[in-house]
């Protein structure tokens, strides 16, 4: 088949369906990484370039827990997620908040600077070697006919759904959640009614980091970690956040799945390399035609 001079290959329906299904599982991973980012973006309105580095750092923590204590990576979530929260809280309160003077361009450079420090600290401390967690159930799974789905993939999808639900409940039901939403919507107003905005910023950054740490424990059985690992997901995570709507968890979940499936089908038909253009294309089109994303509210700037 040919379209506009580009040869479009024809595949059996099993392959197409298999590709779409694998896209769902890949999309779950994207959503996992994007969940933390969307919160930080939604509340602080900053493009956090350190997000990938934080993911990488959390992956190392999961790896070391497995390596030295034999801790299962999923169990490690109970350690790395709270650890991520504390780290993120301190990072925002102690570094980003302190040096940024509230200026966007400085926040941007600050997150870039932090990612330089974290990445090279990882290189310095952990060396450039790839490290991978090996779990005995790595290859076990379910044969869906069109494709084989292994337990780590199912866990990623399940974990993604659970974390989304938990975040949603947290935001809807708790006082802190309400305060975060208030700050996200109306910073000055929130300040006037007595909310400690700096604290809420740091809490949000902490939760965002905890999310990315949880994501790390779900990615660990599939991916090897190295100091440059974060780059694999940063751009996609931004795309997912924008597509879903900044600050929307359901948006991040659905956005992740949509991008996962679109990317897989794009790569199937356009080739693995050119197929990636689908991600940039979605990104650009969403920004142009619906910058608030699928579920975002109208945010100024």
């Amino acid at each position: 088949m040919e379209l506009l001079g580009i040869e479009i290959p024809v595949f059996s329906w099993q392959t197409v369906l298999g590709s779409a299904v694998s896209g769902v599982f890949l999309g779950a991973i994207y959503a996992l990484v994007a969940l933390g980012l969307t919160l930080i973006y939604g509340v602080l309105h900053i493009i956090n370039f350190a997000h990938g580095s934080l993911l990488m750092l959390a992956m190392y923590m999961v790896y070391f827990l497995w390596q030295h204590l034999g801790m299962d990576p999923y169990l490690a979530m109970l350690v790395v997620a709270p650890g991520g929260f504390v780290f993120g809280y301190l990072l925002q309160r102690g570094v980003i908040g302190r040096i940024s003077h509230g200026k966007d361009e400085i926040i941007l450079l600050a997150t870039l600077g932090i990612s330089i420090v974290i990445e090279n600290a990882a290189l310095f401390l952990f060396s450039a070697d790839e490290k991978s967690v090996q779990v005995p159930y790595d290859l076990d799974g379910i044969d869906l006919g069109v494709t084989y789905v292994v337990y780590p993939q199912i866990a990623a999808l399940g974990g993604c759904l659970m974390i989304t639900a938990a975040l949603w409940l947290f935001m809807a039901r708790t006082d802190t959640g309400r305060a975060i939403r208030a700050v996200a919507k109306e910073r000055q107003g929130a300040r006037l009614v007595g909310i400690n905005v700096e604290h809420i910023f740091a809490i949000s950054f902490g939760i965002g980091t905890a999310c990315v740490a949880a994501a790390a424990s779900l990615l660990a059985p599939t991916y090897a970690v190295h100091p440059q690992f974060g780059y694999l997901f940063v751009l996609i995570a931004f795309t997912v956040v924008v597509l879903g709507g900044m600050g929307s968890f359901t948006g991040a979940l659905l956005g992740g799945l949509i991008i996962g499936v679109t990317e897989q089908l794009g790569r199937l038909y356009l080739g693995e390399s050119l197929g990636l253009i689908t991600i940039s294309a979605i990104f650009i089109l969403i920004l142009l035609f619906r910058p608030t994303g699928l579920f975002g509210q109208r945010l100024s700037q």
Binding site: Q14, S19, L26, E130, D138, Y223, Q228, L232, E272, L276
Partner: protein
Amino acid sequence: MSKLPFRMTRRTFLQATAAGTALAAAGLAAGPRPAHAANVIKFGLIHPVTGFLQFSGTQCRYGALTAIEEINAAGGIKALDGATLEPVLGDAQSKAEVGAAEIEKFNEAGVAAIVGAYSSGISLATTQAAAKYGIPHVVDVGVNDKIVSRGLANTFRFGPGFGVITEAGVNGLIEINAAAGKPARTVVIVHENTTPFGSFMAELMKKGLEPAGFEVLDILPHPTPNKDFQNIALKIKEMNPDLIIPSHYYNENVLFLRTLQRQRIEPKAIYSVLGGASSQYRFVDEFPDAAQYVMDCNHWFDPRNPKAAALRAKTEAAGKSFSYEVFLAYTAVQFAADAMERAGSADRAAITEAMASSTWAGHFMPYGPTEMINGQNQGARPLITQVQGSAIEVVAPADYATAPAIFPRPA
């Protein structure tokens, strides 16, 4: 502002520019060094030890430093009264312009020779910068043939380029297949397309394989880094080829082979060319199942040479994996040191001359005596290995083989 002194020395210029930064003093302390201290020969090592290529760059640096250490321990350069080699380290930060800037520093530090710079892109820039000063530059890994084909007199490559590697890969496959009664006919090539290394290979492979009766069903390029190989696996599943030929870097190779395993795809053979992980001990240790029976046409040492085994033991004792970066950089340094012996001089031109006419045979690579033509070592070639059990055996060519190929792999 007071009147500036019109004529500034380098030192005062530095002070002026660095004034205001707390670390200025540290920068000055490490300023220009004397060109040749007594019986020490400066040796430049340029590698990307930070940034995207940090893993390979670090491996290279380790190999090169180990070689220098051993040479010094064995009495230095004997023709120069036991002069010792002093490594001058450069970090290209995975960028060509930074690599070239480091060469300028090497020149001022007075290095006699340079080994580097792992990637083809950086090597192009560093060899060119070194050419300005006539510093002999041995390329350790960069497989792009254009590095040595542009007529730079100072540039040498001891190892093979991708042209030779691909040709060896094609011929090896044809032989192995023929010996087994031609069980494999259909082929899918999977290669990375982000760097020169993978990009050139696929077409060359196809050109070589088709006349020999193979049918290339598809060529599947993918970027580096790559997150997911499920699509590629599905495509392969649908095409059901006898043979898969992957060519990419370590991480992608691991992910790809594990994805094939997860998707229960079992072709008659996986025969990689510059497979990244397929002939790495670390991979075999960590994922023995995924690695089993995988063949790889790659840089490899002469398995019967005890020096190689010794270096491997040493490397692993240091907690490093014994990858091709390590032994290629190691040999490149040895080659340069041998040229210094031959030249009996630390003079750049003399060393360059000695490199060009070198007949060095004291290495553990399967290259035979050195013969440089236009800077390329003519004997340089890869070997074909296969993971068998927990070992990586050489299966071809016959004069280096340690075990027969298991082809096709048992079901």
